[in-house]
């Protein structure tokens, strides 16, 4: 290591100590994109794009927007212990919420499309998926969430319990049921559904 590098490292660590939490959170990968049928586009916060086709390891960072177009699907894994499959024509942004003395909550902000989410590992996770009209919060579970063009959101729970909240209230959604999030209303009463049918699209990619 040269003297210049050492000075750089030293300066970096001194400056780094004073950086806002958000900057620090953005410097470490939040997860990795691991597989894509067709193309997964990762748009970085500065507009730079990376593309995954087939199996790979693209690191994902805070602020990235992930996008699949028609005919494409993808699978990504987050370090919190959550695996997410994107159906075709899906887009979400990778975010987080910081609260003092708590682990970071990973957040996916969906603007369109459909995702399948499942947790893995032993540790409880803090993970939420936001849509234009609702938020699905999980700890250990598996579900499918679809955002329609008008923002209306359709949640199908496979296992575990999902807290499905709109601005008008939060309902716990149990396995084997479906609930709808609509702007201006509380989520609908969960109704029994065929969850396997809802997950058919994931067979090829996961």
């Amino acid at each position: 290591m040269t003297g210049r590098m050492l000075v750089g490292l030293l300066l970096g660590s001194v400056l780094g100590a004073g950086l806002p939490v958000v900057t620090l959170a953005a410097s470490a990968p939040a997860g990795f994109a691991e597989n894509a049928i067709g193309t997964l586009v990762v748009v970085r916060i500065d507009g730079v794009q990376e593309r995954l086709q087939g199996v790979g390891q693209i690191p994902l960072f805070e602020g990235d927007v992930l996008r699949t177009d028609a005919g494409s699907q993808a699978v990504v894994k987050f370090k919190e212990g959550v695996k997410v499959a994107l159906n075709e024509e899906t887009s979400f942004k990778v975010l987080s919420r910081w609260v003092k003395d708590q682990p970071l909550t990973r957040i996916l902000r969906m603007s369109r499309g459909e995702v399948w989410v499942t947790t893995y590992g032993e540790e409880p996770v803090r993970f939420e998926v936001e849509t234009p009209v609702a938020t699905a919060a999980i700890e250990g579970t598996e579900f499918d969430l679809k955002v329609q063009e008008d923002g209306q959101s359709v949640l199908t729970v496979v296992s575990g319990i999902v807290k499905f909240g709109t601005a008008f209230g939060t309902c716990p959604i149990k396995p084997g049921t479906i609930s709808y999030g609509v702007r201006g209303k509380k989520c609908t009463k969960p109704a029994p559904t065929d969850v396997m049918k809802a997950l058919e699209w994931t067979k090829a990619v996961k």
Binding site: V22, L95, R97, W98, P132, A167, R183, G184
Partner: protein
């Protein structure tokens, strides 16, 4: 917590001793928590911080790191315990514990998070994201985003009617105020106003006041009809509005006018709007807030980097408090 002369720490220690139950009792018994002293909070956009000023002595008692960039707008809970701050460059809201004077949460709301307003019950914080043309609805307890409302181009101001039925959003791109039905989250009316409509505030009679920052005018909206009840020329770049009294006169609207470096004192009757007086202040008056009694005004100067305290009885500046760079918003606890 950054403090001057360790004052907050000394206060906390004194408070703990005064309660007699020791530190454990202080933490576990909510009734043992002393009320917060009245404070002035100032968002310093170019310092990413909030300056805390004692509202009685006008001394700075602390500066809070917002842990985000370009701290712009502030909204304080009714009990004064939490302060929500937007951060334009970060697109995030910082939640500040006012007792410990530290940021305790940071939430992404959307690109160019501009203004934040708490609902009347303080259960939600609504955030206008200029870069996304929407309002994010933030649960003020769990800090979870509960949804968004598309509102049109460039939302920059936000206020709720007294009865909570309506939210008013100023849209710079459309030169209009959008009225949202809070029961359905649907826009029910668009009220045309002037160029760059910006700040909105509701007076004690429930009327909605706003500034056309791209012009020279302010306007008043009648909440019964949601129509414009009056407009008035006050000078170039009107910024924000507060309400107070001058002796027996009032209520009066006090408008910071960025282009003239003055505060315009306006007769607050929408049928008889007129500028009664102009108070010379510092460079770039922007944020303004009045104490509950309406006898003191606190004016932030985004070019002068200070807050000036005005006695409404004499219209005199009675104190100047240096704060951070580009103080853009001022709020005062009850």
């Amino acid at each position: 917590m950054r403090s001057r002369n360790g004052q907050p720490f000394v206060r906390i220690l004194l408070a703990a001793i005064a309660f007699g139950g020791g530190l454990v009792g202080c933490v576990t018994d909510p009734e043992a928590i002393a009320p917060l002293p009245q404070r002035i909070y100032v968002a310093n956009e170019s310092d990413n911080s909030v300056t805390v000023i004692d509202a009685n002595t006008y001394k700075v008692v602390g500066t809070i790191d917002a842990k985000n960039s370009s701290t712009h707008d502030l909204s304080l809970t009714r009990d004064g315990s939490k302060l929500f701050a937007t951060n334009l460059a970060s697109g995030r809201v910082s939640v500040i514990d006012t007792r410990s004077m530290e940021t305790i949460a940071s939430i992404d709301t959307g690109n160019r998070a501009h203004v934040v307003t708490l609902t009347n019950d303080n259960k939600q914080a609504w955030v206008a994201n200029i870069g996304e043309n929407n309002i994010s609805i933030l649960d003020a307890t769990t800090y979870r985003i509960l949804g968004t409302i598309p509102v049109g181009e460039g939302p920059t101001g936000l206020a709720f009617s007294h009865d909570g039925r309506f939210a008013y959003v100023s849209n710079q791109g459309e030169k209009a105020i959008k009225v949202i039905d809070t029961a359905s989250h649907q826009i029910i009316k668009s009220i045309p106003v002037g160029a760059n409509p910006h700040f909105l505030i509701v007076d004690r009679q429930g009327r909605v006041w706003g500034t056309n920052t791209g012009e020279t005018t302010i306007y008043v909206i009648d909440p019964e009809t949601n129509d414009i009840a009056g407009t008035l020329e006050v000078g170039a770049k009107p910024q924000q509005i507060a309400f107070g009294f001058k002796g027996t006169k009032g209520p009066l609207a006090y408008v910071t006018v960025g282009g003239t470096d003055k505060v315009a004192v306006v007769n607050a009757d929408p049928k008889n709007l007129k500028v009664l007086e102009e108070i010379a202040v510092g460079s770039g008056p922007n944020g303004i807030w009045a104490n509950l009694e309406g006898t003191r005004l606190f004016v932030g100067h985004d070019k002068g980097h200070d807050v000036r305290v005005i006695d409404t009885g004499t219209s005199a500046v009675i104190s100047t408090v240096p704060v951070g760079r580009k103080p853009i918003r001022v709020v005062v606890s009850r």
